[in-house]
Symmetry: C2
Amino acid sequence: MISEKLSAPECTKHLMAVRDALDVINGKWKIQIIIALWEGNTRFKDIERRIPKITARMLSKELKDLECHQLVKRTVYDTLPVSVEYTATPHAQTLYPVIEELKKWGNLHRKKILEKQQVPELA
Amino acid sequence: MISEKLSAPECTKHLMAVRDALDVINGKWKIQIIIALWEGNTRFKDIERRIPKITARMLSKELKDLECHQLVKRTVYDTLPVSVEYTATPHAQTLYPVIEELKKWGNLHRKKILEKQQVPELA
DNA sequence: GTTACTGCTATACTATAGTATACCCACATA
DNA sequence: TATGTGGGTATACTATAGTATAGCAGTAAC
């Protein structure tokens, strides 16, 4: 179904793109963080509180990763004490359809798995 | 942009669905394996040869995972010696749009990242 | 002066993913 | 008898992701 149109090198290229995407959104926290930002949580502690069980260490690391991938912008305000604002970039917005597809498929898959677990003592 | 329509528990539910999806397709090999099956590679050694650098150990483990998630069907034929056929299930087909979105976004993201790396000595 | 909040970092650990290498059985071929 | 193929498993390792806990600097509130 894919191979009909693609040569092997082309196919490898597509696989690389999929890998690239997964590498960026992979892990337990990245999508949660992006969504938290979309919800309007912009301060470090706000995000930390919004996402259950995340540690400061992970949040810090993941924010840096996301910034590096240009999905998050970090702005430091020269207040006393300094306040730091994290915002999702326009580029992060382009992830929306991906997340939607993942969400849809996650729900579909859950139903599929549960469906088989039912009807155990039918026959 | 998401929060406007969703209460916190609803949002958590959606996050769970995304997590479920990522848990299934996550890792270096699963999508590659599914695509190899779509391409018509059905025998263990065929798949192993089709996917560069995968080891028998990983292939074996990943095929079991995928079977457990009902994305792959394993059929043993009573030949001498036994031959084993792996096929993608119809349920695996439902992953197609997800993979497409990941591919599209992977390409978009690559362009985005490269775009910034250019123009270093413009000004 | 003590407590608490913000925005982190450091250290040490566990758990999971992935790699490398060798090996197994049953059969076929030379 | 040796070598190769199909379909794997066993053992041991490394690397990365994630957890747990503590602490620090600056400020502010009581």
